[in-house]
């Protein structure tokens, strides 16, 4: 799982039927210091997150499908939680 920030939303009419009824979010993975970690990705929303929220991102198929509730569907990323707070020992940064 990764820490990430929601930076946008996509709309798609023509898509796999298993993606219907869920928001498509553009999500930017973050490092612990808040800097960007690689490029933004597209994730299905399992918690009703919105732009600007700091979230927990599942980046593996089985966990993402389970969170979204659509087994055996082409989903490999899902937003599975909001992050309220992160506590880290300063040496870890």
């Amino acid at each position: 799982m990764l820490i990430a920030r929601v930076v946008g939303e996509l709309t798609a009419t023509q898509k796999h039927p298993s993606h219907e009824g869920r928001k498509l979010l553009l999500v930017q993975p973050l490092n612990l210091d808040g800097s960007n970690r690689g490029d933004a990705v597209v994730a299905l929303d399992a918690v009703d997150a919105g732009v600007g929220d700091r979230v927990l991102l599942a980046t593996e198929g089985f966990s993402a499908m389970t969170a979204v509730g659509r087994p055996n569907s082409p989903i490999d990323m899902a937003v599975i939680g909001f992050i309220d707070r992160i506590d880290i020992v300063p040496e870890a940064l």
Binding site: V7, G8, E9, D76
Partner: protein
């Protein structure tokens, strides 16, 4: 899933039999601001996307799931055609949505916080 644009098409006459009839498209990954990022790659297609269209694709084992019960040997598959993108500038999106914990007095979030006993 990843976001990108279809920039081309690949034709293979000799290929794995399970890939017969599959469209193979060249995709350029994009940032939310529609700038090219990273290397182009080849994806199978489950949506009917065409050249120039914005798409998103899935990577890994899940890429073969749109074709169930067939299991073509693919590791990237386009699963949606993007109609529109609403992307916030990253600096703006970074504005914290929650108050800084340090600026909020302890217990302030509790509406009915009990006062400490006076005796």
């Amino acid at each position: 899933m990843y976001f990108g644009r279809v920039v081309g098409c690949v034709w293979c006459t000799t290929k794995n039999p399970a890939l017969l009839g599959q469209r193979l498209l060249v995709v350029q990954p994009l940032t939310p601001q529609l700038e090219a990022t990273g290397k182009r790659l080849v994806c199978t297609d489950s949506t009917g996307a065409g050249a120039g269209e914005l798409v998103y694709w899935v990577r890994g084992k899940e890429a073969s799931f749109p074709f169930l019960p067939a299991e073509p040997p693919t590791d990237t598959c386009i699963v949606g055609i993007v109609d529109s993108v609403h992307a916030q500038a990253l600096a703006e999106a970074r504005q914290p949505t929650l108050p800084d914990p340090a600026s909020v007095p302890a217990g302030a979030h509790r509406k009915n916080a009990r006062k400490p006993p006076s005796c």
